[in-house]
């Protein structure tokens, strides 16, 4: 192929321009990578809806249906190969743009996918028992433990009285000295 001097100069300038353009801060289209297929699923640019805190708050309450166990927001910003979470995110955005409130969006998801779409069961009805049961059980057990300990200490006290004083001899010390002795004893490693 014959290239005249003018054509050569234009080509060189265009090439340099392209290189410079690519390396400048956000000033032009980014170059293609050699092997796009090995970089995972191609993505679209981040939209305002993708980083909207209100949408994120809703999505954090809803489970992704891909089986990852994560909420929609975490899944779509973690497993970028997931084909479910982008669609679910788009659904949230679409419902919001229809003018639905956060609760209405969540209700719409529950109506469509069932209660298991929620990251945690709603705090009402039987599920409220589910939330409270462990804490109530611990409190009841604590109460039972207190009563048992009280009974034990009473038994111990009664046994100590029945056994009589451990030391029968007179201790020649003032109450202040005895208190000091007790403090010193308590300081010893147990």
């Amino acid at each position: 192929m014959n290239v005249d001097r003018r054509g050569f100069v234009v080509a060189v300038v265009a090439t340099l321009g392209a290189v410079v353009q690519d390396s400048l801060a956000g000033s032009g289209p980014a170059g293609k990578v050699a092997d796009p297929a090995s970089a995972g699923r191609p993505l679209g640019p981040t939209s305002a809806a993708d980083i909207d805190a209100a949408y994120q708050a809703i999505e954090k309450q809803l489970k992704c249906s891909c089986g990852c166990g994560l909420d929609i927001y975490t899944c779509r910003t973690t497993d970028f190969n997931c084909t479910y979470s982008p669609g679910l995110h788009a659904h949230v955005v679409a419902l919001a743009q229809e003018g639905k409130t956060a609760q209405q969006i969540i209700d719409a998801f529950v109506a469509q996918y069932g209660q298991q779409v929620l990251m945690a069961p709603p705090r009402r009805g039987f599920n409220l028992v589910g939330y409270l049961f462990p804490s109530v059980l611990v409190l009841v057990a604590a109460g039972f433990l207190l009563v048992t300990l009280r009974r034990w200490t009473r038994v111990a006290a009664a046994e100590a009285v029945a056994a009589g004083p451990a030391v029968t001899g007179h201790v020649d010390a003032s109450s202040a000295e005895l208190e000091r002795l007790r403090r010193e004893l308590e300081r010893l490693p147990s």
Partner: protein, 673 residues
């Protein structure tokens, strides 16, 4: 080699059965020949299972893809490091690993147990042989790691990229070692029940084993958290996944035991409780194994659903049934030898500590099983994710943290009011001072406020205990304070090692609290473009996308994105995050492209950068930028916790006072008999 491996499994099965029968019979009848035979069976079983493991490793390293397990979990170009971990990357291999390690522990228990506790050993041999034989049985009849394919693939499927991480090489074996080693204390507990020798002897025999088990579980959990953080890319380290939860359960129960056993050793109380904790911890470990391997609960960690689950369910029910029956029969022999003298005593605080540990374990178990329960009782499938667990467990965890500080401040037997005032003054003031500083600094989140405030209280407790002990040595022996601290720890490793563990827990709780202030954003950037993110401390980080490079490395094609980071305009460094497309030896893709996170870890916060992907195959990249406060302290807290555990575990030590107390209790027991 696979034939030899398969034959070894059969040999292990028969030898294990023999060991179980002769162990129980020899122990119950007092026949020395049977007892000796059971002991030899334990050794022989270990030899057979070790041989089977070697055979599988040889098949893996020789790329014998005719073996289904080798073809399913490895490939020719899998790095050697991960060929080792392929042994436990799949269901069948991990069962073999489990059985082999259990037989190793069983052998060590036979060899290392002192002559004083020899009476338990036939039963220990029987129990360990029974459990190991069950695992071999599962392999032989449902999950044979040496199963051959009808054809030989040119290359294997390769290992899941998320398992190709150093964390995954160490996390499963550590957790398994923890799970498996619980079998030894359990075996001694059963031996004590069967032999009716239920004094402190069996507790002394298992002391090291319980610590080993607790330590391995702790290390396994911590490495698992680290792996989740650096590999999974969601920016956290604990997701309350069912499999994570069931690994936590035995650790919680063992921690409760490590506290309550001190009450039995010192006062002869809580015999029934301690025994129940050891038995419960083992049953929970088997329950966890069942849950992981049955697919009964959906989890990202689960092995695929297989008939193995039914084996484990059957074994679990059988083991639980027989254990409970034996326990109930022996209850009359487990009466306490002393009673509680005061509600305000170390013993009482340990009881409440145990209540919270078990309450927490129950709460985790409850949340894990709640989806099944809900489906049974109300016919509704529900998801129980982090919001549920955080709501239910955080208050219990904080109460436990408070008791971590309160317990050591209360004297044994009875604490007086002046003693309480003297002990609590400095820690309480420190905790309140920390709380005040946080409030003045503008923190208003109630959970982190309480966690960090309590952290201050417990830290002061620990330092006070060290300070008093060191000053006492300094006064008594004239030792410099640093030497006094070192000798203090060396002379009473259990007590001061325990305090170091408490310090590790404080660091962990404070670090967990830090995650409440996590901030993140997502951005699509061309080379040269930047995104900014404000840290919880008010500084502004700027992330500038420098460009994309692609290259081949080992068994993958890498797409690497480079990000320049500055804080308030000052350069901080560069981070690299990758997409990895793993390939086999023929260059074929083996899995979907995975993500490698770029992390810059600091004392205050971690910068966590994830390359989501590229826009239309160009250098325009989609990123997620996250600032995770205090994550470094999770790992440091983990090191402190493990370090404290190692100090407790280290042989020797023990102050004369402690030895006297325990010796006194032993004499008291002997005089009663």
């Amino acid at each position: 080699m696979t034939l030899l491996g398969h034959l070894s499994l059969w040999l292990a099965l028969f030898v294990g059965l023999w060991g179980a029968i002769t162990g129980f019979a020899g122990g119950l009848q007092g026949r020395a020949d049977l007892q000796q035979s059971a002991r030899h069976a334990v050794f022989a079983m270990f030899a057979a299972l070790a041989l089977a493991t070697i055979c599988l490793e040889v098949a893996i390293f020789r790329h014998d893809f005719n073996v289904q397990y080798v073809a399913a979990y490895t490939s020719r170009n899998l790095p050697t490091f991960y060929l080792w971990s392929a042994l436990y990357a799949g269901q069948k291999g991990s069962l073999l690993f489990w059985a082999t390690v259990l037989s190793l522990f069983a052998t060590l228990a036979q060899v290392l147990t002192s002559g004083r506790h020899r009476a338990y050993l036939p039963f220990v041999a029987a129990v360990t042989c029974t459990v190991a034989t069950f695992f071999v049985l599962v392999m032989v009849f449902a999950a044979n790691p040496f199963e051959r394919l009808a054809y030989t693939p040119v290359d294997g499927s390769g290992m899941n990229p998320q398992l190709q991480n150093p964390g995954m090489v160490f996390h499963p074996p550590m957790l398994y070692l923890g799970y498996i080693s619980i079998t030894i204390p359990f075996a001694f507990a059963i031996a004590a029940l069967l032999s009716k020798k239920l004094d402190v002897d069996w507790l002394v025999a298992i002391r090291k084993w319980t610590l080993v088990s607790w330590l391995f579980l702790a290390i396994g959990l911590l490495i698992g958290m680290w792996w989740a953080y650096v590999e999974l890319g969601w920016g956290g380290y604990w997701a309350w996944d069912p499999v994570e939860n069931v690994a936590l359960l035995p650790w919680l129960v063992m921690t409760a035991f490590l506290h309550s056993v001190m009450v039995q050793e010192k006062r002869g109380m809580l015999k029934k409780w301690n025994l129940a904790l050891v038995l419960g911890a083992w049953l929970l470990s088997i329950f966890g194994t069942f849950l992981t391997r049955s697919g009964v609960i959906a989890s990202v960690h689960s092995f695929t659903q297989s008939p193995v689950g039914y084996f484990f369910l059957g074994f679990l029910l059988l083991a639980a049934g027989s254990t409970i029956v034996l326990y109930v029969i022996r209850l009359p022999l487990l009466e306490a030898e002393a009673t509680l003298e005061s509600m305000v005593s170390r013993e009482a605080s340990f009881l409440f500590n145990n209540l919270l540990f078990i309450g927490l374990a129950f709460s985790v178990l409850w949340g894990t099983l709640y989806p099944i329960l809900s489906e049974w009782l109300q016919g509704t499938k529900v998801t129980v994710g982090p919001p549920f667990f955080n709501l239910v467990n955080i208050p219990l965890g904080l109460a436990l943290l408070a008791l971590t500080g309160i317990g050591p401040l209360i004297a044994w037997r009875r604490a007086s009011i002046p003693n309480l005032q003297r002990q609590f003054a400095v820690p309480a003031v420190t905790g309140l001072f920390v709380l005040l500083i946080l409030l003045v600094a503008g923190m208003r989140e109630i959970g982190p406020l309480i966690a960090i405030g309590l952290g201050g209280f417990v830290t002061a407790t620990v330092f006070q205990e060290f300070g008093r002990g060191a000053r006492a040595r300094h006064r008594q022996y004239g030792e410099p304070l640093v030497l006094a601290v070192l000798r203090l720890v060396a002379r009473n490793r259990r007590r001061y090692g325990g305090y170091i563990v408490h310090m590790g827990m404080v660091l962990l709780f404070v670090a967990f609290a830090g995650m409440a202030f996590k901030t993140e954003t997502q951005a699509t950037l061309r080379p040269g473009e930047s995104a900014t993110l404000r840290s919880p401390y008010g500084q502004v980080y700027t992330f500038t996308h420098l460009g994309i490079s692609q290259y081949d490395a080992l068994n993958r094609r890498v797409t690497a994105a480079l990000v320049d980071v500055s804080r308030d305009g000052k350069p901080v460094g560069r981070l690299k995050t990758e997409k990895r497309q793993h390939v086999d030896a023929l260059g074929r893709n083996t899995f979907e492209a995975s993500t490698e996170v770029g992390i810059r870890s600091g004392l205050r916060e971690d910068l966590y950068v994830v390359l989501g992907g590229l826009v239309n195959g160009t250098e325009q990249a989609v990123y997620r930028f996250t600032i995770n406060p205090l994550v470094w302290w999770v790992w440091f807290g983990g090191f402190v916790l493990v370090g404290g555990g190692l100090i407790v575990l280290w042989p020797g030590g023990g102050s004369p006072a402690v030895r006297r107390t325990q010796a006194g209790y032993a004499v008291k027991l002997e005089s009663k008999q």
